[in-house]
């Protein structure tokens, strides 16, 4: 349904041989196309053909549920050997497989073949049977690699879409959880599932997601990042306007809040939309541990994010423009460190920041076996030796290290990446204009943030525009106790904005 131009359909021929040949021709004689011709006891004069792609199907299922019953079937007498009746009979009383379809056109069959179904042609019939016998080898459900929690479910998405949908269905057990699957990618025909909670999510947003997905006309969708770039509201922004997660519980939480989840076959990363700036600071664990601790940790996260964006810039500004702001002893010890450092503060900072970025990228990309080597080079050679050699000052190394570490506090990697990039711009502004430069940059970033939208929802809500309902503020900077979070967080016209009735505060139990 997603393709705008539908290719012309080729009707099947009554001849089995012709059909098999046509399929074979379309696959270009691919070696993994298995064609098995056989005859059944029931209709020995008519040849049957079974086609499937090796590796995409479970051969045990084919042998036990398809080939065996087909070969040894006995048809009831009223179901004579008429071809149209035969297909019906096979489907209703012989094959013991759940997923069965009929195909009248060659293209339909081809599509299902690539999805891991098998195709049964019957000589003399222009209708082919298709059975779901898929069962490729999949990675087992494991611990999420990127978003870890201490307390909370330890299941992460895998690459297979069906499994991922089931993971969410296992959390939200209601028929109101609607799933619509689209095939996107003119070559890859990737399955993209859109999930929403009917009666909670705003229908117009769900429709908007469908509309934006339908507009994609790329040849291949390999990861949800492809989809993200097509459906986000603003391309020229460094801030992610779609949340991504590999945690089923995080996606389920999003669905419960009235958001729409987009799952793409072939990747464990799901997208959640619409989203706000503040969602990126909310770790699933915030909701699993005590609210006071969670609020504290969340505050730290905000602080660390600001630090990771501004700290090197502040250091540059203070040491090259506003020395009077430092306590005297600190100034003297910084000055002592800088003695003999040949570069200006800005160059020194850029040098160290670039070094760290290179180290980071190297640590990510290199083969696992040489991991220890990079830590030695990074920590010892670049950190300690650079200071000893007098190329950079020790204070700068501390600043860069702290900046780097505060960056890793973010639960969402793409938001953390944003601050890494913006940091450089602010550093240059700080190096040229001091605090004034930092101020302008921050103002610019804030103005930009306020201008963003995610599927029509203001990115900075509930701050800008400020939400009047205090209930919407209970899960922004702090996480209030669960019983007090009455409203779903999105500041938009939700079908059902209340998530629980009020007055659910547990009474203090005194004995």
């Amino acid at each position: 349904m997603t393709q705008t131009k539908k290719p012309a359909l080729t009707p099947l021929s009554p001849s089995l041989r012709a059909n098999v040949q046509a399929v074979n021709a379309r696959f270009g004689g691919s070696s993994d196309l298995v064609v098995r011709l056989f005859r059944s006891d029931a209709a020995p004069e008519r040849e049957l053909g079974l086609l499937y792609l090796e590796g995409l199907v479970n051969t045990d299922v084919i042998n036990e549920s398809l080939l065996a019953p087909l070969m040894s079937m006995k048809l009831p007498p009223h179901m004579e050997r008429k071809s149209d009746r035969l297909v019906e009979a096979l489907r209703t009383s012989v094959v013991s497989i759940g997923g069965m379809k009929e195909a009248a056109a060659l293209e339909e069959g081809l599509q299902q073949l690539t999805d891991g179904w098998c195709l049964i042609f019957i000589d003399g019939s222009t209708v082919a049977l298709m059975a779901a016998v898929g069962g490729t080898k999949e990675r087992a459900i494991g611990i999420p690699q990127t978003q870890t929690v201490i307390r909370g479910p330890q299941r992460g998405f895998v690459e297979e879409l069906g499994t991922n949908i089931s993971l969410i269905r296992r959390i939200i057990r209601t028929p109101d959880l609607h799933v619509q699957t689209h095939k996107i990618g003119t070559q890859t025909h990737s399955n993209v599932a859109v999930m929403h909670l009917h009666g909670v999510a705003d229908q117009s947003i769900v429709k908007e997601v469908y509309r934006r997905l339908a507009a994609i006309d790329l040849d291949g969708i390999l990861e949800s990042g492809y989809i993200e770039e097509y459906i986000q509201d603003e391309t020229f922004t460094m801030f992610p306007t779609l949340l991504n997660s590999e945690r089923p519980d995080a996606v389920a939480a999003g669905l419960l809040e009235g958001r729409v989840a987009i799952l793409v076959d072939g990747t464990p990363i799901a997208l959640v939309a619409p989203t706000t700036f503040f969602s990126f600071f909310q770790s699933p664990e915030d909701y699993y541990q005590r609210f006071d601790i969670a609020s504290f940790v969340r505050t730290i996260r905000y602080a660390a994010y600001v630090m990771s964006m501004l700290l090197p810039a502040l250091y540059i500004a203070v040491t090259t423009f506003h020395q009077e702001m430092l306590p005297t002893t600190l100034l003297i010890s910084l000055a002592a460190q800088r003695e003999g450092v040949p570069f200006p503060g800005l160059v020194e900072a850029l040098l160290m920041e670039m070094t760290f970025e290179v180290l980071r990228e190297a640590g990510l990309r290199m083969p696992r076996a040489i991991g220890p080597a990079i830590s030695i080079v990074g920590a010892l050679v670049l950190g300690q030796s650079a200071v000893q050699a007098g190329i950079v000052s020790a204070g700068m190394v501390i600043v860069v290290s702290f900046t780097a570490i505060s960056n890793f506090v973010m639960p969402e990697n793409n938001m953390a990446a944003t601050s890494r990039v913006i940091r450089f711009g602010i550093m240059i502004m700080a190096g040229m204009l001091g605090f004034f430069g930092i101020f302008i940059s921050v103002l610019f970033v804030l103005a930009h943030l306020a201008s963003l939208r995610s599927f029509g929802v203001p990115y900075m809500s509930p701050i800008a525009p400020g939400a009047k309902n205090s209930g919407l503020w209970r899960d922004v900077f702090v996480r209030a106790p669960w019983w007090s979070i009455m409203l779903r967080p999105l500041d938009m016209k939700l079908r059902n904005p209340r998530r629980q009735s009020s007055g659910r505060k547990p009474p203090a139990q005194r004995h």
């Binding site: 020229f236 020395q323 003297i332 200006p344 240059i428 204009l433 430069g437």
Partner: protein, 402 residues
């Protein structure tokens, strides 16, 4: 394209104007103390520059002095500062200046130009502490101090410590001095610095390798300023009286004798933990009387008075002894100030606040009127604790029946 053009324009803006007041940390000479002297009709400005390398814990520290002192002369302050570039490799940086020491000569001549320079320039902070020096200011800046590496900071900490713990002197910032001198009485008091010990000055690092330094900088005497000139000095004891009168006693130790007349050896002492002074001027005939009301609270530190301090009435007796002692300290201070005819106590300001009309009539004659004033003292001392023992040690030793 439009965006790229805009960005290019913006970067041009940065390059055109950016960086004009950027200065790297290793391009500035951090000054920790400034000294002002008057020699041969010229201002001599002495700067104590911190050598950061000598201070940081790494190798090399301790072998060389942490500061360098140099002077420059000129007809005014800023020209003397700008002349400093002829002998300094780095720009002088005044924002972290801790103290300003005014030499006795300069103080007698009048240090108005210094205050002018401080008011006008943004890089000189008004939180800088001001001191007078009994000799040249330069000599004070040259002295090294044990414990602290930067002598300027050390002197600054010394006055803070003094103000907090014994209240003989108070910290006078440039701001405070300006407030006082621009006020109604045009008088203020500034603590003095002197070199105690032998004549040999402690200006070598080697001197610090001994357990006692040959000489040391210490707070000594209070300089009384009128207008912008030094009028006279009063002693440490008299300075304490001034501090009591100006409500600047925070914590102090008062020693007192046991006899009711306050005579004899002062064998006991009390710690003042909190004190407040209220001044109330009154006109009696054509004479002004200042009613001074002091409420102090403290604890007994040391006692050789005998008696049993477990009894409240005996505690009251001790309190009265302390009250008398405080009164005599104040009277000493008052006499000394009165003799110098300089209202560093702010009595004039008190009169102005409560009797502005009378003050207006008297303002021009205040220098003559002030010494004619009398003070009426009421001291109220409350010993909130006599320490952990009741009887004194000697008393406790006397066994009954012996």
């Amino acid at each position: 394209m439009k965006v790229i053009r805009l960005l290019l324009l913006c970067s041009l803006l940065l390059l055109q104007t950016g960086c004009w007041n950027r200065v790297e940390l290793n391009d500035i000479a951090i000054i920790s103390a400034t000294g002002v002297d008057w020699e041969n009709g010229k201002w001599v400005l002495t700067n104590q520059i911190v050598i950061p390398k000598a201070i940081s814990g790494q190798a090399g520290g301790g072998r060389t002095a942490a500061v360098n002192v140099f002077s420059s002369t000129g007809d005014n302050f800023r020209i003397a500062i700008s002349k400093a570039s002829q002998e300094s490799s780095r720009r002088l940086y005044f924002s972290h200046n801790q103290i300003v020491v005014i030499g006795q000569e300069a103080a007698r001549k009048g240090f108005g130009p210094l205050l002018e320079a401080y008011l006008r320039n943004h890089d000189s902070r008004e939180t800088v502490d001001v001191f007078l020096s009994k000799s040249t200011a330069r000599l004070m800046l040259e002295q090294l101090m044990p414990l602290e590496q930067i002598p300027g900071a050390a002197i600054q900490r010394m006055i803070v410590n003094e103000e907090k713990n014994s209240s003989s002197y108070r910290q006078m910032t440039i701001h405070q001095v300006l407030m006082d001198l621009l006020g109604h009485t045009k008088a203020t008091s500034i603590p003095g610095l002197a070199l105690a010990g032998s004549e040999e000055s402690t200006d070598k690092v080697e001197a610090l390798s001994h357990t006692s330094t040959p000489s040391k900088v210490r707070l000594s005497e209070l300089g009384l300023i009128y207008g912008d000139k030094l009028v006279g000095w009063i002693s440490d004891e008299q300075s304490k009286g001034v501090m009591w009168l100006t409500n600047n006693v925070d914590k102090a130790t008062v020693s007192f004798a046991c006899s009711a007349e306050g005579k004899g050896r002062e064998g006991s002492s009390a710690r003042i933990l909190h004190s407040s002074t209220k001044l109330k001027p009154q006109q009696r005939g054509d004479k002004w009387v200042m009613k001074v009301d002091i409420a102090a609270e403290g604890s007994l530190l040391e006692s050789d008075c005998g008696g049993n301090l477990m009894k409240p009435e005996e505690v009251r007796e001790v309190e009265q002894l302390v009250e008398k002692r405080i009164a005599s300290i104040i009277a000493d201070g008052w006499e000394a100030v009165r003799k110098n005819k300089t209202d560093v106590l702010g009595f004039g300001t008190q009169i102005y606040k409560q009797y502005p009309k009378a003050w207006k009539a008297m303002e021009s004659r205040w220098k003559e009127e002030f010494p004619l004033m009398e003070i009426e003292l009421t001291v109220n001392m409350k010993l909130s604790s006599t320490g952990m023992s009741g009887k004194s040690f000697k008393e406790a030793q006397k066994k009954p029946g012996l």
